[in-house]
Subunit: 317 residues, 2 copies
């Protein structure tokens, strides 16, 4: 079977230090590009564009390569790797950033190797919207562009972000971000407003509550997998995006039914990521486990049609 290398992903590669109520880890593999590319690697061989410092452990790059990721676009720069330090309380939906050291990531200017420029699927991780557009300028004819962003860009680089959004097929944000971007508290109204800004599809990630997908007049509500043990929510959103994009690139389809399956795949992949620290769960994850949990989500969400007679007026009303 030929390698499917139609997907390019751009984002950060980082060393994370994490504290949760269940334990802590120092300087483990993190960053959006890491989660996205490993999640996508269950479906395709993603092309990665990122930057690391001189201190970045070779073992992490070897792990990404072992997943079939193309690392031609990962450059090593003089200086230290991007570091992020965060803490979660029992409410794992909220990350408290303790420290951010951008290091070499501050000077990241994504440059696509010539061999990447025929990519059909593009995922723009959460970076400066100017840089996101510079990536699109380097892809000859993208078929589907997914894009993440965050509160910082929405407030401080709004005009640039709006320019990026005009070139994006699907935006990936959380509840707070879609409200902030639209200036509207109601998520349904906010989603409708964002769909006038350029993207033809939007997914609103809601952590343990699942995700809402909006496109045209259509809405899809995907439940998250209810988990008895959530260990470390870091990277859940990026894993979701990676699973979504990987599945979509592999399937080759862009209809709504395929988008819905892609969203469930993203949800399923994310449900594994949070079971262990860093990308540890993804290291051992097998395709049959993904398939089984997808089937579990089908059962989780299943219900039948209403019998017509139950609403036929019990008291002759």
């Amino acid at each position: 079977m030929p390698v499917n290398d139609r997907l390019v992903v751009v984002g950060s590669v980082a060393l994370d230090s994490l504290e949760t109520p269940f334990g802590r880890r120092e300087e483990v593999l993190g960053g959006s590009a890491s989660y996205i590319s490993v999640a996508a690697s269950f479906f395709v061989s993603p092309r990665v564009v990122a930057v690391v410092g001189e201190d970045f452990p070779a073992a992490h790059l070897e792990f990404l390569a072992s997943r079939g990721a193309d690392l031609t676009g990962v450059v090593r720069q003089p200086g230290r790797t991007f570091r992020w330090k965060g803490r979660y309380e029992f409410d794992l939906n909220v990350a408290h950033t303790l420290d951010t050291q951008l290091n070499v990531f501050a000077l990241f200017r994504p440059e696509l190797p010539e061999a990447y420029r025929d990519s059909e699927y593009v995922f723009l991780g959460n970076i400066d919207p100017d840089l996101q557009r510079s990536v699109l300028d380097q892809v000859r004819s993208p078929r589907f562009v997914g894009c993440d962003t965050m509160n910082y860009w929405i407030t401080s680089r709004r005009d640039s972000l709006l320019r990026t959004l005009k070139r994006v097929d699907m935006l990936f944000v959380n509840d707070a971000e879609v409200r902030q971007l639209a200036g509207e508290h109601n998520v349904v109204k906010a989603a409708a407003a964002v769909l006038t800004m350029g993207p033809r599809a939007l997914v609103v990630k809601r952590g343990e509550y699942g995700a809402l997908f909006f496109s045209g007049g259509e809405v899809f509500a995907a439940s998250a997998v209810p988990l008895a043990a959530v260990f470390d929510p870091t990277g859940a959103g990026d894993t979701f995006a990676g699973g979504f994009m990987g599945y979509l690139a592999r399937s080759g389809r862009l209809d709504h039914a395929a988008m819905r399956r892609a969203i469930v795949v993203g949800t399923v992949l994310a449900s594994f990521t949070v079971e262990q620290f860093s990308l540890d769960r993804l290291r051992t994850l097998r395709p049959d486990e993904i398939r089984a949990r997808y089937a579990e989500v089908r059962r989780l969400a299943h219900f039948e049609d209403l019998e017509p007679e139950v609403l036929s007026g019990p008291t002759g009303r």
Copy 2:
């Protein structure tokens, strides 16, 4: 068609004063028994047990009767009707109580008319767990008992509540309540703990995020209907319970498939309630609107099986 009067509901009837970002209303019809019985009335003719004061407007009782509710068990006592005053900010998930005047509700001792005692379906609204058991003592052979409660009873009347739970088939609580009752932050673990306390089924209501149903090893995740206009969330949980119980009593079935449909019916009814103040939306609601929104929720949650080949190892791994 004979009147289906197998369901008895016990709870409060109140006059609510409400403030939301979208408007305010003074002394409108409220109380758990009002919402529960009107929601149930789309499926059965509920028997209502409640207390009102001398000042309670006859028009409200006429409305409940016009919905087919049996009001034999609604007693009028000397004194004023229960009053609740609440405010919602833009986060409509959180009610801020401004004032509570129990009035005649403080002396409520639910007494079932003889004709109610053959009821097969019982819903115990959010009242003192001692009173909830006194209701059960008056029902000869209940087939299915649903029960609501709240943080106040969980903390101050825990032992009594635990005695009630041993006689309940299904508990209706929200996220915070299930965590508090179980002393466990993780909702899946908390649900498992509550299922050892007596109920064989549990629904965790999550407001705009939908509901989780737990029974045996089974979990069902129902999405709430994403609404562009939520006006007044008062009574959403009670409407959910009323729709659930009404559908269940009407269907006559207690299997898991029927429970799942009942949960979606509850979700659908609640989605109408919040569209207007008080019970106003339920006053004009038609069966075909319920049917249409149920079908909408089916479309909302629908996705297909994963194609087996997408996980068959894209790069020969």
